[in-house]
Structure formats: structure tokens, C-alpha cells
Symmetry: C2
Subunit: 188 residues, 2 copies
């Protein structure tokens, strides 16, 4: 059996991450999946519905990855390093962050999607803050800076590096930035 809905989500994610939310159309998606345009509306009545489902699936995948990192990696810098590796895949495949693609639309983004990506970032910030706080407690992360501020700084660096290094198709440069980032978190 063929799970068309799942296939639609996969292809749509690739399109949005590759060309932006406003930059892809139902016609593109139909062609990518091998289905007629109207059939997409059966699964996702409107483009906003599709966008919301995309963010939900993306967030769920990340949530699972974050959970895995927390159980498999013990120290703070190691966890941030592993977190950064999640972004690296995007650089290697030439795909940006789904939520960055949506965030760029700013005021034109439907409120529902804006809330969804804000929640995505808020979740990551909370996870990072907890990881950094624990790292400060066990001495693996340098103390003296508010973990919440550090969390924002970590996400910003990785999102920005993904944005720029995808343009330059330069995974090595991304790794370099990740190294500088992680190194700066270690105690001095």
C-alpha cells in the first residue's frame, strides 16, 4: 500500500526547504508525487493546512532526535555538538531549515503558521536551556552566562550557519562554525 499522505509530506518538505514556502506550488508538489493537483486538496484542503502538517511532522522528528541525544550523550558540549549535527544534514542536501523558510515570510505568513514555528523555536530553546543548565551544573559548560541567553545564541548560530553555508554548499565551513560554537561553550 502506498501512503500518499506521507509521500506528500516528504516531497512538500523538500520543496519548502529548497525554495521557500511562497516559492512552491501545489502544481510542483503534484508533479513531484505523481498525482493530480486536485488530489492534494483531499489530503490537505489548503496550503496552510499543508504547511501546518509540515511543521508538525518536522517538529516531531526533531523532538525524537533531541530525546535521543539526551539519552545517548552525557556532557553538555557533546549534546550541543550532536544537536548541531542535525543541521549539518541540511547543508549536505542543499536544504534549509523548514522553519527558517517560513520565518522569512514574516508578516505575510498566516498567523497559524507563525504560531507553529514560534512553538518550534520555543521547544528547541527550552531543550537547549535545560541541556546548558545541566552542563553548567556538572561543570561541562562554562558558567557565568544565563542558560536561556546561551540557548538563543546556540540556535541563532546554527540557523545562520545553515542559511549561509547552504548557499555556499560548504558543509566543511558549517563544521568549522559548529566547532567554534561548541568550543566556546566549554569551561575556560
Amino acid at each position: 500500500m502506498r501512503d500518499t499522505r506521507a509521500e506528500l509530506l516528504i516531497q512538500a518538505e523538500t520543496l519548502v526547504r529548497g525554495r521557500g514556502y511562497a516559492g512552491f506550488s501545489y502544481a510542483d508538489l503534484a508533479a513531484a508525487v505523481g498525482i493530480r493537483k486536485a488530489s492534494i486538496h483531499h489530503h490537505f484542503p489548503s496550503k496552510v493546512d499543508l504547511g501546518a502538517a509540515l511543521v508538525a511532522a518536522y517538529a516531531a522528528r526533531y523532538a525524537a532526535a533531541l530525546e535521543a541525544i539526551r539519552t545517548e550523550v552525557a556532557d553538555g558540549p557533546g549534546r550541543i555538538e550532536a544537536y548541531g549535527q542535525l543541521y549539518l544534514g541540511g547543508v549536505e542536501q542543499g536544504l534549509g531549515c523548514l522553519c527558517a523558510a517560513l520565518a522569512i515570510e514574516g508578516e505575510a505568513l498566516p498567523e497559524r503558521l507563525r504560531r507553529a514555528i514560534a512553538a518550534f523555536f520555543a521547544d528547541h530553546l527550552a531543550w537547549l536551556e535545560a541541556v546548558l543548565r545541566a552542563g553548567q551544573a556538572d561543570g561541562s559548560v562554562r558558567a557565568g552566562t544565563d542558560p536561556a541567553a546561551l540557548a538563543r545564541y546556540v540556535i541563532a548560530t546554527l540557523e545562520g550557519a545553515l542559511l549561509m553555508e547552504r548557499l555556499f554548499a560548504s558543509p566543511d565551513a558549517f563544521r568549522g562554525t559548529l566547532a567554534v560554537l561548541v568550543d566556546g561553550l566549554r569551561p575556560r
Copy 2:
């Protein structure tokens, strides 16, 4: 006398930085400037022409700002701090980076524009590298890390912070990230 071309550039920049390149149309721009859609084509025959002019103007403004920083601020961290302040304005006005808005379009972006924004980032990277190298030489910037890698890391952090903090409409959080960034550049 009314300089329509300049007005078009101003309004178009606001639109692109506010909603993305694919997210604005000649009709939007015509309405913003108070001119007919067809008249825009007199100044900018195609949307790509407009986009290229936008990047050129944006890059020129930045180039002037970078030059000013170099003459007015002496130490490395101070210069990076001043550089970061340039991004802060975007957060305060709810406008992203023009080149980030274009970069998100990825593969769908016309080659000409891709080259233009790559040059934009390359210029900034060169400036930052020189600033950081000078800072390492005069002892105001921590040594031990390749200035080129440091430059990429600086841009990434600021671009990412602008992207995220604009979404959260949080200039204070941007300032916090900038502080963490600059502080990390100081000698230990």
C-alpha cells in the same frame, strides 16, 4: 522632483525583507509607491533586474557602514559589536536581512541573484576576517582560531539571531546574543 526609482527601491526592499522575494509582487510594489504596475517595468524591466538593484543598493549601504566602523572604532570586539548593531535595526523594524530572504529561495533563485548574494556574504566575510585578524594582532581578539572561520561564525550568529528574534519581535534577545558573541571573542 520625485525620484521614483529610489522610492521603488526603498519600498521594494521593505517588501522583500518583510515577506520574502517570492512573497511580494509588482502589484504590491505599485500600490506601495502609488504608481501603475506597468510603470515599474520602465525602471526595472524584470523582477530579477529589481532584485539585483536591491542587492546592489543594500550592499553599497553596508559597505559604507563597514568603512565607517573601521575608521571610528579601534578594537576588534568593538568593531564586531558595531557590526552587530547594524543587524539590530532589522529586528526593531521587523525586517529580516535582504540577502537571507533571497538565500532562502535556494535552487529557485535566479543564478544572477544567487551570485549577487554570494558576493554580499563574501564581502562581509572578507571584512570580518580582516577585522578579526587585526584584532588578534593587537591582542584585542582571542588568538588560536583561524580568522576566516571566526568570520563565518560571526555572520552566522548574527544572521540567525536576526531571523529568529525578528519572529519573536525581541530586540533585547538579539542584544543578548550579540553580547555573548562579542564576549566570546575577547582574549580569555
